[in-house]
Symmetry: C2
Subunit: 343 residues, 2 copies
């Protein structure tokens, strides 16, 4: 297998050009995705049928022409695999949220290759269908982020239930996070063993916590998963939202690549973290609602900031938004791929 | 008039104890507020009747026992005063949002003492009803934040309309912001002239923009308002959300006090900005959903961080949340007021 440019960039090796992919690139902004979901019987059907998983993942990669595909799945699956009832109507909801030590102890161990075998089968089918020079990324929610959904039940805007534990009952939250970190690690490692070339942790809730708890509950448990996945030898990407005041600490978690949101410039991010990690980012997903010209200009501006230096993967600063014009997403990808550093 | 401890803290002068107030302290978490709003005929009735404005403001200050009151009002009022139709159902909505240069030019000049005379009358009544040692804070939305509501019409979670201008049509956004900054400055100065002892700018949307645009569109226009208000001689507070990666720049806008959210510790904030401004913050509003003991512990932890040094005002890191138990808010205030630095 040839060394792929996405993997080379993750390892801060020189590349022929900057690799690009988009968080949530296989998603509801695409008509074909919506049709596929309809045929699969809804979101859950799309997640648990390997053929559908592969089709969603492959279609988006091919249509956009990205250097990597991310497996179509959902961060809530390991919670369901631990025995926590999960509903989709249409967003994920846990009708019996985890709020106590007993709730945490009731979470079952599971073998991801059994209970989430449909994900692994989807990965094998996808890998078999991808061009050799395109990387396949597996993913999990970081422990804090998955736990925050399990604790809230229905995600809110204030995360009060999570914070009642974080601030008022830290022992219980540690218990939940230890279980979740174990489950998520096993799920992540199984994805790599099934054929993923890299693994991303999404830690979108991390930045909701007060600074001290961000370190104790988000970063500390993300590190456990990163360490588990690192042993498989594939690059690991850590992405959190609204933590740019803590970028140095995020860069020290052991991940190969740090995802950066648009609240900080790539130049400033690089200056802050130095050369210890590769960086990924950071176009505001809302920029894709502008004209194609503006999409091209803003994409180019980020590329110029990074000047083609090694250790950079182009991406959005968060997942692509539902109403995004698909043509603009493709224009972004083509702009990155056509770009040459101005001399 | 005696020099009030809140004002002394804003000026980084020594104080007998740390002053405390809560953003949105007169709000819907209180039963008495909800009853008053009902009697006033809804939110708009509460904003435009000076008696009701004073009653809402005074009741909350007295019940909580805070060192400052913030006038009950809404950041959208200057937009309405510029002639932009405004509805409340129940949140504010602009049915004809500002999206073009012509829309910006159609915004009318106004005399805040005429068009928003009810605010000034509310301020006079409130000031007359407040104890002498309690400060009265006036407020405005910072230009970017008010403009973002005027541009979106209905606030969303992605601010795509704002960003279409910020990224794709900056000239139009500059035109809107110049008009809004002028209106907001006039409204802020009139509030001081009516009797406010300090003035706060709320810039809650600032942190939604990409880093470059945060400086160009949020900070640059906030500075204009700060400069206008500074000429009146009262202290100015600047509060933005999710800008902790840019704290130094926020501290350089000319405000006397910088509001800090809970995404960064007060210790780190002080270290980053040095002694050039007073700081205000930063308890996570969700902490008020914990037990009174936990509220007390977390409040004390922040006080210990600041060690009673001058130039600190205790507050939440954002507005108090609607479902907050009022007793916990009062317990926070009492904890601050009873605290003595441990030796």
């Amino acid at each position: 297998m040839t060394q792929r440019r996405f993997i080379r960039a993750c390892r801060r090796e020189t590349v022929d050009r900057i690799p690009v992919w988009l968080m949530r690139q296989a998603g509801r902004y695409m008509r074909e995705y919506r049709e596929l979901k309809e045929r699969a019987g809804g979101f859950w059907g799309l997640c648990n049928q390997p053929e559908a998983v592969a089709e969603a993942t492959l279609f988006a990669q091919k249509w956009l022409g990205t250097d990597a595909a991310i497996i179509f799945s959902d961060i809530t699956l390991p919670a369901w695999a631990m025995g926590l009832p999960l509903e989709f109507n249409p967003g994920p909801r846990f009708p019996t949220p985890v709020r106590s030590a007993n709730d945490a102890r009731a979470l079952a161990n599971f073998d991801p290759n059994q209970k989430l075998g449909f994900v692994m089968e989807g990965i094998r089918k996808t890998r078999a269908g991808l061009p050799n020079d395109v990387s396949l990324i597996g993913f999990v929610g970081a422990p804090l982020t998955l736990a925050s959904y399990m604790i809230e039940g229905t995600p809110g805007r204030t995360w009060n239930e999570l914070k009642k534990l974080a601030y008022g009952d830290p022992d219980t939250l540690h218990l939940v996070l230890a279980r979740v970190a174990e489950a998520v690690s096993a799920h992540a490692v199984a994805q790599v063993q099934a054929g993923c070339d890299a693994l991303q942790l999404f830690d979108t809730t991390a930045g909701e916590l007060a600074a001290a708890e961000l370190h104790t509950f988000a970063f500390a448990y993300a590190r456990r998963v990163i360490e588990a996945v690192k042993k498989t030898g594939v690059p690991v990407i850590y992405f959190a939202r609204n933590v740019s005041a803590h970028l140095e600490a995020a860069a020290d978690l052991g991940a190969d690549v740090l995802g950066v949101d648009w609240g900080i410039s790539m130049t400033a991010a690089r200056k802050r973290v130095g050369e210890r990690v590769a960086l990924m980012g950071n176009l505001d997903p809302s920029a894709l609602f502008c004209s194609p010209d503006v999409v091209g200009q803003r994409t180019t501006a980020i590329l110029e900031e990074m000047r083609g230096a090694p250790g950079f993967v182009f991406n959005l600063g968060h997942g692509i938004l539902p109403e995004t014009p698909p043509e603009n997403a493709r224009h972004l990808v083509r702009t990155v791929q056509a770009w040459k550093p101005s001399s």
